[in-house]
């Protein structure tokens, strides 16, 4: 095969995906990511099963609001954030620490093809984990309300669209945060401090001026969320007053952040040297 042909690159990306996805899913050290992803589902299913056992009827609107709050303030800001830290920082930096990255660098693979392959593996892994977590939590919300009410919500009140939007937002969060953390893994030999800084920046987003808000991943993710947490009531202290951008612009911006991370990453990966002793 021609070393510069698309068919070769596709075959190589597929080979990288096979290796990386298996590694990501089976890593014992990644168990905490599953726990983070499953936490809301476990909570919501416990609530649902207890209500079913006691024949209590829940208010779907209230549970939806609880889910929206949990999704915005725990799932996106902490679970997906740290899940992406765990997966994307390890793609290159982790293998440097394990002294196994040379396996890829001794193969006739373009460095940027390697980067794309590893990034896609990270996106697939985190998306599968966190989209499944989102879907399971939403299922728990719907399972313990009367069937007619659930059907009315899903097919009559745009609930199906909400479900799709939540799952797509979780996937887009992986795309956006993945690009950021892939790059941080290249730029810093100890990325803990930069990760904390990104976390603080994302947390401070509600309090930033409109222009600076746009320099974050969470701003665009929140623009996509279908249920807004009201500024009054039980969750008022968590509410954020921000002007969302249209969905198409939010999706485009998230893809742009990921593309920027990848582009800067390719510049780093081309310069990458294997020098385990001093790294």
């Amino acid at each position: 095969m021609n070393p510069n042909s698309w068919s070769l690159w596709r075959a190589q990306v597929a080979a990288i995906l096979r290796l990386e996805i298996k590694k990501n899913f089976l890593a014992r050290r990644g168990l905490w990511i599953y726990l983070l992803a499953a936490a809301p589902a476990v909570l919501m299913w416990s609530h649902a099963l207890l209500n079913l056992r006691d024949h209590r009827v829940c208010d779907l609107g209230h549970d939806n609001l609880i889910f929206a709050t949990m999704f915005q303030f725990f799932y996106l800001r902490l679970a997906v954030f740290f899940g992406c830290v765990g997966v994307f920082l390890k793609l290159f930096r982790g293998e440097m620490l394990e002294k196994s990255l040379h396996y890829y660098l001794l193969a006739p693979v373009r460095r940027d093809v390697l980067l794309v392959g590893k990034y896609l593996a990270g996106v697939l892994t985190t998306s599968i984990i966190f989209c499944t977590g989102t879907a399971l939590t939403l299922a728990a919300v719907l399972v313990h309300v009367p069937r007619a009410q659930a059907e009315q919500y899903l097919f009559g009140a745009g609930g199906l669209g909400h479900v799709f939007t939540y799952i797509a937002t979780a996937a887009l969060a992986c795309v956006g945060y993945g690009g950021v953390f892939l790059l941080l893994g290249f730029l810093f030999s100890n990325p803990v401090v930069p990760v904390v800084l990104v976390l603080l920046w994302e947390a401070a987003n509600p309090f930033l001026p409109q222009l600076l808000k746009r320099l974050s991943v969470i701003f665009y993710l929140q623009s996509l969320i279908p249920v807004t947490v009201p500024a009054q009531g039980d969750f008022a202290f968590l509410a954020i007053l921000a002007t969302p951008v249209p969905a198409y612009l939010a999706v485009f911006s998230l893809l742009l952040i990921a593309a920027a991370g990848l582009w800067l990453g390719t510049r780093q990966v081309r310069k990458l040297e294997i020098n385990y002793g001093t790294d």
């Binding site: 070393p3 510069n4 075959a11 006739p108 001093t278």
Partner: protein
């Protein structure tokens, strides 16, 4: 640019302020070339430079006409068995090679066939389905070697490939290197076992503190070491009688009876002339059994050029 040589042109590599290798100029032809030198002399740095794992601070490298910073072309014909003893987690021996061949873009059938062929060459067929984490040091060494040869490279770079191998496997591995070299491959080996280097190398590159101190065929290198006259061992039944006559030759610097009393060790500055003149010295009643150089090997050259205190190798 020579497409049949590995070329280093004024190559230097620094790790910050620390010298890796300095001003290296080499042209490595096909055959077995051994890199010899103490720890920290720059052997691994040279190997990492020629495979693109490191980049030179200055100078230019080409491997059969291809620059090492072009991995998609380079590793089509280069195999590198590194000294790194770490593997991607959870892999079996088979998966280690199979996945590597899939990264080359080979189909499942091609990769499967190539994997078994490479595994059979290093005699690891039984262990192939087992996890590498459970392999012995020697088995890990062999699976790395299988990976390096799995895509039939024209250049094979082997960093301490005989480490951890038992004597039988070591002999088989050396025979494999020889057969590959005879097939026209460039086989670059770093090793600290000097008598093995001596036995298998077509040429040697001696390194010390990041500098190439000598290169070429070992006999040629030895001849150029003028500070140390060549030692020749003459096996005979009456060494004392021979010694008294041998001092008549003006090329002889020193002659002493061998420790076992059955030979004479002669030091000469001009071995070729000494051999010629020795023929004229007919010593009646002295039975000459053999005449052979005594320090025309890597070990001696290493000691003369780098010294016994050159570091542990």
């Amino acid at each position: 640019m020579n497409a049949n040589e590995i070329l280093f042109e004024n190559v230097s590599r620094f790790y910050g302020d620390v010298l890796g290798v300095n001003r290296v100029n080499l042209a490595i032809p096909p055959g077995i070339t051994s890199l010899v030198g103490p720890n920290g002399s720059g052997k691994t740095t040279l190997m990492n430079l020629m495979t693109g794992l490191l980049r030179p601070t200055q100078g230019r490298i080409s491997v059969l006409g291809v620059a090492p910073d072009d991995p998609e072309h380079l590793f089509r014909f280069v195999g590198y068995c590194t000294q790194f003893d770490s593997f991607p987690r959870g892999m079996t021996g088979y998966q280690f090679i199979y996945s590597y061949l899939r990264l080359h873009g080979k189909t499942h059938a091609e990769a499967d066939e190539g994997t078994w062929r490479a595994i059979e060459r290093v005699k690891l067929t039984d262990a192939a389905p087992r996890k590498i984490a459970g392999y012995s040091k020697g088995m890990r060494q062999r699976i790395k070697l299988a990976q390096a040869i799995s895509h039939d490279p024209r250049v094979l770079v082997l960093d301490e490939p005989l480490n951890g191998l038992d004597p039988l496997v070591r002999a088989e591995t050396i025979a494999l290197f020889r057969s590959l070299a005879e097939a026209g491959l460039h086989v670059i080996i770093s090793s600290h076992i000097l008598h093995e280097v001596d036995a298998i190398s077509d040429q040697v590159i001696l390194l010390s503190s990041g500098y190439v101190v000598a290169e070429g065929q070992i006999h040629g290198v030895r001849t150029e070491v003028e500070d140390h006259p060549m030692q020749i061992l003459i096996r005979c039944d009456r060494p004392s009688a021979l010694a008294s006559r041998i001092f008549e030759l003006d090329t002889v610097v020193e002659a002493r009876v061998h420790n076992d009393g059955k030979g004479l060790l002669v030091r000469t500055r001009d071995p070729d002339r000494f051999y010629l003149m020795l023929n004229r010295l007919v010593v009646d009643g002295v039975d000459l059994q053999s005449i052979a150089p005594a320090d025309d090997d890597v070990n001696s050259v290493y000691e003369y050029l780098i010294g016994p205190d050159g570091g542990s190798i």
